[in-house]
Symmetry: C2
Subunit: 450 residues, 2 copies
């Protein structure tokens, strides 16, 4: 085996994109996945979310590998959140400027497109290869396969094998590995709003629909077949509305009629889907170091986050882009250096987005239903319009730029403090359009200078 | 195998004490350890600390199983800290009231005493049995042994297998296990101050000796053979004085002569020991749940802490005592209930002591060398003397009572806030003895009521 043969663990979105980057660098790439080849068996994600929200960072990576135009036809732009209240009324809140959108994408087809692109560039794929052991010292990897155990050399390993990474588990058995895995109290279940009998979208397709209900929520993202994939987020147990307390069709009907009645009317298959589809957990993973000997963790394997900022895939794609740039810079014979630089630069940013994803859950399920939230967004949008270089709303920094997540986080916290003071005005609902916007910017600049 | 046969993983201090408790309950107990039998091979802890500091919680458990009198001859009381400054001067600071002490104990002999006591009560020990797999659903456990792989039924499993617990690793592979392991930047190495040529202790044996040097420290605990076991705590890397920068005898001599000269004069074997003994890592582990099916984690397996409060073993022994009381209460056929009650009650307390252990490192290596620290301790001692029911210093609550760690923590934080204000008086060094002590108590009671 050659020194420049790269072993990638995981043929998911991150692993397949990384394979493309590396093939374009002229490297030899073997991708291993424990699951069967998707092209030969029906697609089943075993409860993982089917819909992704592709935004700036993701598109930027796709553009780098020349795939933007191929992916665009699969993507549906969502220009804002459509908030559904308990009486069926809706409010639209833009994500950013008029033309700015995040893009709904189905995992299955997108993953296949990436895998095929890598294959056409010469990457080799091996399915039903479950990584059992990694011997960092001897640079060997052991797979369980349908035809028995295979042990092979692996001079360079990239672990893109997700939140339950085998490579990470192997690292954890080594000494001095800092590691945290945390399940939040909420779990999720996927449901569907199918196309109408006339074959049309049942709701506005160019929005991410949210039914925020305080401690829980339902969301819906559009699909090219004119259906919506819905995700229901509930506490697992212990609250008035939780998965534990929905045990039969009657319980289910009461919850949906009480809280999501407009959605309920569009979900003819709710009862079947609810009791057939798995209830899945939500995990946050942080660890360090990401490097052990010749191996590096990327994507969810090193920083699985909760899905509430829509950045999991985008952040993983940015990992690939940054890693690719470092390989460009330091060449194909300096993996130690490239990996060390990568983890040193990137960790602070993935910590920031993990934290933001956790915090954004409260915003999505609760704050968005507060009329003041909309005013706050409008004030920030106006600041952005008037002072585009000085005030970019946090959501926009994360979603529509490639500013480092850690910088977006710091700047966002600063702006949050200023906005809290602005919103404390009891007459803000009436006066928001007549504020002294220059003074707000001045306050922010002053706070920043301290 | 009978339903009341208990499998204990780990024949360390916690596993052997738990075996004694269970045998006294009339249960069948099998204890498995991956290491060889200590009685047949020389004692080697592979870098783990040899000296323990037994305090109230530990003694209480030993008393419950009737072992206090057997252990006492192995223990050396330490009534306070003896602080060594950089010029060889020393200051003694009492741990508590005059007769209150913590007890230095060597791990090896103590562990053997506990194992033999359990064996005499009928516990079975199996050494060189490395737990490879736990099948929670089928209640089976698989061991690697010198004579091959053994798979056996295990209706009830207690994981007392320490910071790198195999049982915990098996639980982590299950879903919804919250887990954190964190290495601190400091590591440690054990060294020795032998008895003098006259066969006497080289220093006061009734104190825990500390050489606090800000970012690092050396400590020493007495042994019955009139030697002291020293532990050097240094950052691993990146600071002026760190393990990475001590590469030869010359480096070592400079560090010891500069910072620990009085100790250095008593360490004839320093050079040999330093380069022979391993440098060991310090880990903090928190996880939840502690229960999976028929299995429960206890001691370091569920809450390994850094050693700076001297509570690791004491807390583990208290685990055993609390678990024993629950078995007493709910009987031998309600393991689910007993385990559920145990983790529900205990987690908040082990979180508190893990946190305190982390915080106490700063106190030991830094604060104790501040003259004001001594005054602070004196004021608190006086408050304790005047108002023994209202003000117990935090260290005393943790070390000399069996108050819940979480309550000690909360009360300690409250007292800390009051004391910070008392110590802010610029003339406190002169006036500490003339303070209005009643007013301090009043302030504390008021703060508590809020």
């Amino acid at each position: 085996m050659k020194k420049n043969e790269i072993t990638i663990l995981g043929a998911g979105l991150i692993g397949t994109l990384m394979a493309i980057y590396l093939k374009r660098q002229g490297l030899d790439v073997n991708v291993y996945d424990k699951r069967p080849d998707k092209r030969k068996t029906p697609y089943d994600e075993g409860g993982r979310s089917i819909n992704m929200a592709l935004s700036y960072r993701g598109w930027k990576s796709l553009e780098e590998v020349g795939l933007k135009d191929k992916v665009m036809p699969l993507a549906i732009p969502m220009y804002g959140r459509k908030i559904h209240d308990e009486h069926g009324g809706t409010t639209f809140i833009s994500y950013g400027k008029e033309e700015q959108a995040i893009y709904s994408l189905s995992r299955g087809k997108f993953n296949q497109l990436l895998a095929e692109e890598g294959e056409s560039l010469g990457a080799n794929y091996f399915f039903e290869h479950k990584c059992e052991e990694v011997d960092f010292r001897n640079q060997e990897i052991t797979f369980q396969t349908p035809s028995g155990v295979k042990k092979m050399e692996a001079p360079v390993i990239l672990g893109a094998d997700g939140a339950y990474s085998s490579l990470r588990m192997a690292m954890q058995k080594q000494i001095r590995f800092n590691y945290k895995q945390e399940y939040i109290t909420h779990e999720y279940k996927e449901l569907t709003i199918p196309a109408t009998p006339e074959g049309e979208f049942a709701m506005d397709p160019n929005a991410l629909h949210i039914w925020p209900r305080g401690k829980f929520m339902l969301i819906a993202l559009p699909n090219p077949d004119k259906s919506f994939t819905c995700t229901l987020f509930l506490p697992n147990t212990g609250t008035k509305v939780c998965f534990d307390k929905i045990n039969d069709e009657h319980d289910l009907e009461i919850v949906f009629k009480s809280y999501f009645d407009d959605a309920y009317q569009m979900m003819p298959n709710l009862k079947k889907e609810f009791f057939r589809n798995p209830t899945s957990a939500l995990i946050n993973v942080e660890c360090f170091p990401w490097v052990q000997g010749n191996s590096l963790l990327i994507g969810d394997a090193s920083h699985a986050m909760v899905p509430f900022y829509g950045q999991g895939m985008n952040c993983g794609f940015e990992d690939c882009s940054i890693l690719n740039a470092l390989i460009d810079k330091y060449g194909h014979n300096s993996w130690d250096l490239v990996f060390a630089k990568f983890q040193k630069k990137r960790k602070i940013d993935t910590d920031a987005i993990c934290q933001l994803a956790m915090e954004n859950f409260v915003e999505m399920r609760d704050s968005v239903s507060d009329p003041k939230f909309n005013i706050r967004k409008k004030i920030e949008a106006k600041l952005y319009e008037l002072y585009p270089n000085d005030w970019i709303p946090l959501y926009s920094m994360v979603t529509f730029t490639d500013m480092r997540y850690s910088e977006a986080y710091a700047q966002g916290k600063l702006q949050e403090g200023i906005m809290d003071r602005v919103m404390a005005d009891p007459l803000i609902t009436e006066n928001w359009d007549k504020l002294d916007y220059e003074d707000i910017i001045y306050k922010m600049e002053t706070a920043k200078a301290v």
